[in-house]
């Protein structure tokens, strides 16, 4: 089980728990503002973009090539950008803090 915290553009901080699936799915389930996952999690729509807390970048690791290509020219990209549909919920992510991209 992992507790994951989302910071959203309306200034809210929400911590939720999950055991499986992707972080995008967990966010949709918990109605986290700004995470839509329109394509169903196949790395096609970039509507689940998050910024990883820099101190925890080693927890998530860097994106693979396709995900990186989706992010590189995104207007809101940062060094710590990930698409949350590509982050799998597991014990390893416990305590992760994500800021939802605009």
């Amino acid at each position: 089980m992992a507790k994951i915290t989302f910071k959203t553009s309306d200034g809210k901080t929400t911590t939720v728990e999950g055991t499986n699936g992707s972080v995008m799915e967990l966010a949709v389930q918990n109605k986290i503002k700004g995470i839509d996952g329109d394509c169903g999690g196949v790395c096609s729509c970039a509507t689940c973009h998050v910024h990883v807390n820099p101190d925890q970048w080693n927890v998530t690791g860097a994106p693979d090539e396709l995900e990186n290509d989706m992010l590189e020219f995104d207007e809101n990209v940062s060094e710590y950008s990930r698409l949350s549909c590509q982050l799998k919920v597991s014990d390893a992510l416990d305590g992760l803090v994500l800021t939802v991209a605009k």
Binding site: Q29, K31, S44, C45, A46, D69, M70, F73
Partner: protein, 416 residues
């Protein structure tokens, strides 16, 4: 926001991508009344794109790809009525009649009826064994079952569009011998340029799928436990399983019978509203104006279903909204990810940028200087940057775009 009250009822016909996303967005926008979704499909609402892809090749089922988790329907008080058909819309009474005999009144009605597979009038098609379209979870289950039960696993796919080609690729991965029969001179003829048709023809051939074009299927005969698919030049193909993917028909009948304006789909304005102020239509079934391309269009896509649903939800809750998006699509076949953005209709020039990696390139469709659309094959950067250029209308230098020596960066291709 206009006041919505708890006593109001919003009824949605169709619980797939458009209807379901609309419903949850309506709640998010502040609708306080009931939200009731009807669908003839008994399956809990699921993502359709994986049906022809991962769903065929894994045992996960649709439970792994629900549009929204089951509990969200409870927490957001979105009522699902599955396995029920809507028989008609009575606009005077603001009510719909249902196949179980009940009548449901509405304050706002959303038509998200989508489309159904077109089954061409081929002689013997009604009695063919193991012949299925690919649109619903049930179709995918039927295809899987028939495939698993078949010994020789000879598959004929009628129609070389995205649905047919994705299904062909998935069944090939499972060990089928697959023939794709396309009536036109090239596959994907209706939706893309010859360069893309050539690429996907080669991709399938390299994976041992037989792609045969200019083949018009005229009859299907039963041949013991299998079928014989017969073309107009009298060539014949044995098939244990036949998948039909020759396009769709839009489900406009309910709307038409209710006297709503129909023109290549249900006609809606920029807020997704029909000519009845209390009835909206969203998704594949609509014919709507696209402000960017300045023309009326009908789209068969997840993006349009979701985004038009979001626009309708905002409009009903009183927000000023104009549905104005650049359409995008995707397709997965074998190890190739195709991402498309924009509408290429009316292009008169095409620039190809061939990346160094195998099977990686992008096609940029122009009308004179205006970038209309981009197809990106295993190169998401072109898809993302293309989206940005289409939206901004920035003028591009086509020769730079085609020049691999110029690095792929946002400022590399701008015209001087």
């Amino acid at each position: 926001m206009s006041a919505t009250t708890k006593s109001q009822v919003c009824v949605v016909i169709g619980a797939s991508h458009a209807g379901v996303n609309f419903a949850f967005n309506l709640r998010r926008e502040g609708w306080e009344g009931q939200i009731i979704l009807y669908d003839i499909d008994k399956e809990f609402p699921y993502h359709r794109p994986p049906l022809s892809k991962a769903y065929l090749t894994s045992d996960a089922g649709t439970e792994q790809s629900l549009l929204f988790p089951r509990e969200n329907y409870e927490t957001d008080q979105v009522t699902l009525k599955l396995g029920i058909a809507v028989e008609n819309i009575n606009r005077n009474d603001k009510a719909i009649s249902l196949s179980d005999g009940a009548v449901q009144s509405y304050d706002k009605l959303i038509i998200a009826t989508g489309a159904r597979p077109f089954i061409p009038p081929i002689k013997g098609i009604d009695t063919a064994k193991n012949l299925f379209p690919m649109r619903t979870a049930e179709d995918a289950v039927n295809i899987r079952k028939a495939f698993n039960a078949s010994g020789k696993k000879r598959v004929v796919v009628i129609g070389g569009g995205y649905i047919g080609l994705e299904t062909a690729a998935s069944l090939k991965k499972l060990g089928a011998s697959v023939v794709v029969l396309e009536r036109e001179e090239r596959i994907l003829a209706r939706v893309t340029a010859p360069v893309m048709s050539e690429f996907f023809t080669k991709l399938h051939q390299n994976n041992d799928v037989d792609v045969i074009t200019s083949k018009n299927v005229v009859s299907i005969e039963q041949n013991g436990h299998s079928n014989l698919v017969i073309c107009d030049d009298d060539t014949k193909f044995e098939a244990d399983l036949i998948v039909v993917g020759v396009g769709i028909r839009v489900n406009t009948e309910l709307a038409a019978e209710a006297g709503l304006d129909i023109d290549n789909g249900i006609k809606v304005d920029e807020t997704a509203r029909t000519n009845d102020e209390n009835i909206y239509a969203i998704g594949d079934c609509t014919y709507h104006y696209n402000p960017h391309y300045k023309c009326n269009i009908r789209l068969e896509s997840v993006q349009n279903a979701v985004d038009q649903g979001k626009a309708a939800a905002k409009a009903i809750c009183g927000e000023d909204v104009v549905y104005d998006t650049i359409p995008w699509f995707w397709s997965d076949q074998f190890d190739v990810k195709l991402q498309m953005v924009g509408l290429s209709n009316g292009f008169n020039d095409i620039v190809i940028r061939d990346e160094e990696a195998d099977n990686s390139f992008s096609a940029w469709y122009f009308k004179d200087d205006e970038l209309l659309a981009v197809d990106a094959v295993n190169f998401a950067k072109a898809y993302v940057l293309g989206t940005r250029f289409i939206k901004s209308g920035q003028k591009l230098d086509k020769s730079k775009l085609a020049d691999l020596a110029i690095p792929f960066k946002p400022n590399s291709f701008l015209a001087e």
